[in-house]
Amino acid sequence: MSSTISSISNNIKHTTENNTEDNEVELVKDQIAWNTIDIIENEKERNELNNPQYKHESSSAIHNLDFFKSIEKIKAPLEWEGSVLDLSRDTFTARLKDLVDPDAPEEIAEFCYDDLQQGDETLVKPGAVFRWIIGTTISPKGGMNQKFSRLHFRKLPAWREEHFNKAQETTEDWIENIFVTDDFK
C-alpha cells in the first residue's frame, strides 16, 4: 500500500511543480507527506498489532488522499494544526496554530461535529489533534474550481513500550537530580 501512496503523492507534486502561475501556491507538500506518513504509520501498526481499528484508520486516510488526487492545484491554501480544548453537545472548541503564516498568533475557534469527515467523530476528545485546510481546488483539464474546507483528525501512532521506558528513564533521572526534599530550614 505504501508504494501506491508514494506514487499518488509524486504525481501530485509533479503536476504542481510544472505550474508557476501567480498567486497559486504549490500544493502543500507537507500535507501530502503528512497523510503518507499517517498511512504508513498505521500500516506498520496494523502489521504489528493486527488490530482491526487500524484498517478503518487507513481507509479514512486514503479517502482523504482521493480528494487531493483529482486536483491539479490548490490556490492559497491555509492550514492549521488544532488541538481540542472543550466538547459540547453539537460543537467543540479548539486551539489553532497557523502552519502557513508563522507570524500569526495562536487562535481559538468553535467547530460543528457536522463538518467532520465520516469516522472522525469518535476521535474528538480533549487533546485530540487535527488539521484544518481551506482553499480553492483547481481541477485538471479546465474543470470547475471549488472552494473547500476540510477538517481531518490526525491518526497518530499508538503509544509503544519504548515510549513508556524512555519516560520512566528520564523521570528517574529528574527525581535523582532536580528535586529537593530537605527543604527550607
Partner: protein
C-alpha cells in the same frame, strides 16, 4: 506612569495579565524580588515580569530570589522556562503534586507525541525540567503550610513567604486525575488535556509582621472541607489571619468564590485585584463583578473583559473560515498591570498605579 524602582525600604506588588496568562511580581525589600507564574507580553514576546524589571532598571538575574510555579495550566506557565533561565539566583518552588513519578512520566510522554506544532503547559513544564537538568538547578516542594522563605528585611520587620495549598487531599485528588488520564500502551497518542480543576495549585501567603497578602492563583471552591479554599482557611499558616491584599482567585469566577474568605478573612480596606479571562463568555461575568464589588470597595482588574481580537485576513479567506469555524479569535488578549506599593513596615497606605488596560473592576465589562 512612574517607572522608578521601589526603594529598599518599600514593599511593592505588581499583578500582570492577561495578554497570555497571569503573573505576579513582588519586592520584599533590599532589592529582593519574587515572581509567581508567567504572563507573556504579546508585543515583546517576553515574560511581563522580566520586561517590568528591565524597565525599572533592576538586574533580574541577581535580584529575583524566589520563583513559584503555581500550576501547570499554560496561562500561568507559558514563558516560565525563560524566566528561570534568566533569573539564575532564584530558588524555584513547585507544587508537591508535581513531584510524583506518574505526573513526571506524563510530562515525558507528552513530549514524545509525534510531530506536534501546538504547545501545552506540559511542554513548558518539560522545557523547565530539561533546563534545570542542564544547569544543575533544583526544584523545591511547595504544599500547604510550607515556609518557602523567611527573612528580617528591615529593623523589626519580618518577612515570611508561605504556600497555603495544595492540601494533602487535593494532592491525592490530583494524582487520581493523573492515573485516570495516564496513557495506555497501544492506545492512539493524544495530547494530555489539562485537568479541569486547579486544586493542585499553590496559593501563597506573604506576611510582613502582622500584615498579610494572599495570592489566590486559580484555586477553586469544593464542597469537601479538605480541598480547595476550605482547606486553605484551615491551614496553620493562615489561621485567624486577615489579609490587606488579595489576588482574587480564578479570574473572579463563582467557582473560585468562598464566602467565608470574603466575609471574614479580608480587611475592609483591602486591595483586591483580578486578571480577566476572555475565552468563551469570559470571566468575571456581570454577576461576578456585582458580587465582588458588593463585598469590597478597592477592587481592580488588570484589563477589561472583552473578547479577543480577530486576526486580520483577506476578506475571501475570512468568509471561508466562517463557513467552518465560528468565533475564531486570537487566543491572547490586551493586557495591563497594577502596581501597589507601600513602606516595608506597612506604615503607609497602599499607593495604587493602574497601567495599560487596567481599570476599576466595576468598569471591567461593557
Amino acid at each position: 506612569m512612574s517607572v522608578n524602582a521601589p526603594a529598599h525600604n518599600e514593599f511593592e506588588i505588581v499583578v500582570f495579565g492577561p495578554s497570555w496568562g497571569e503573573s505576579i511580581l513582588f519586592h520584599y525589600g533590599n532589592n529582593d524580588w519574587a515572581i509567581i507564574d508567567s504572563c507573556i507580553d504579546e508585543e515583546t514576546k517576553l515574560p511581563a515580569a522580566i520586561n517590568y524589571l528591565n524597565s525599572i532598571g533592576v538586574d533580574h538575574q541577581n535580584a529575583v530570589k524566589q520563583i513559584v510555579i503555581s500550576h501547570w495550566h499554560d496561562d500561568h506557565l507559558k514563558g516560565m522556562a525563560s524566566i528561570i533561565k534568566e533569573c539564575t539566583a532564584a530558588k524555584l518552588n513547585c507544587s508537591s503534586a508535581y513531584f510524583s513519578r506518574e505526573f513526571l512520566k506524563l510530562v515525558n510522554l507528552n513530549n514524545q507525541i509525534s510531530m506536534l506544532h501546538t504547545d501545552t503547559g506540559l511542554s513548558e513544564f518539560e522545557r523547565i525540567m530539561c533546563l534545570l537538568r542542564e544547569t544543575n538547578r533544583k526544584l523545591h516542594h511547595a504544599a500547604q503550610d510550607r515556609l518557602l522563605a523567611k527573612e528580617i528585611v528591615a529593623t523589626g520587620v519580618n518577612f515570611e513567604f508561605y504556600a497555603v495549598s495544595p492540601s494533602d487531599s487535593s494532592i491525592s485528588n490530583f494524582l487520581n486525575w493523573v492515573t485516570t488520564n495516564f496513557p495506555v500502551e497501544k492506545e492512539t497518542e493524544r495530547k494530555i488535556p489539562a485537568p479541569s480543576g486547579n486544586e493542585a495549585a499553590i496559593v501563597n501567603l506573604v506576611s510582613i509582621n502582622d500584615n498579610h497578602i494572599l495570592l489566590g492563583a486559580d484555586m477553586l471552591e469544593y464542597r469537601d472541607k479538605d480541598r480547595g479554599w476550605n482547606a486553605i482557611l484551615k491551614s496553620v499558616a493562615f489561621l485567624h489571619k486577615k489579609v490587606c491584599f488579595l489576588k482574587i482567585p480564578h479570574h473572579g469566577g463563582q467557582s473560585g468564590h468562598n464566602q467565608e474568605l470574603w466575609e471574614s478573612r479580608i480587611d475592609d480596606d483591602a486591595v483586591c485585584i483580578l486578571t480577566p479571562w476572555s475565552r468563551n463568555e469570559g470571566l468575571p461575568s456581570h454577576e461576578d463583578i456585582n458580587r465582588i464589588c458588593a463585598l469590597q470597595d478597592q477592587v481592580y482588574a488588570t484589563a477589561k473583559v472583552r473578547l479577543s481580537k480577530k486576526y486580520k485576513r483577506d476578506h475571501a479567506v475570512s468568509k471561508l473560515i466562517r463557513k467552518t469555524a465560528s468565533g475564531m479569535r486570537v487566543a491572547s488578549t490586551s493586557s495591563g498591570y497594577i502596581r501597589s506599593r507601600r513602606n516595608i513596615d506597612f506604615s503607609t497606605p497602599w499607593e495604587i498605579v493602574l497601567n495599560g488596560e487596567a481599570c476599576q473592576l466595576a468598569q471591567a465589562r461593557d
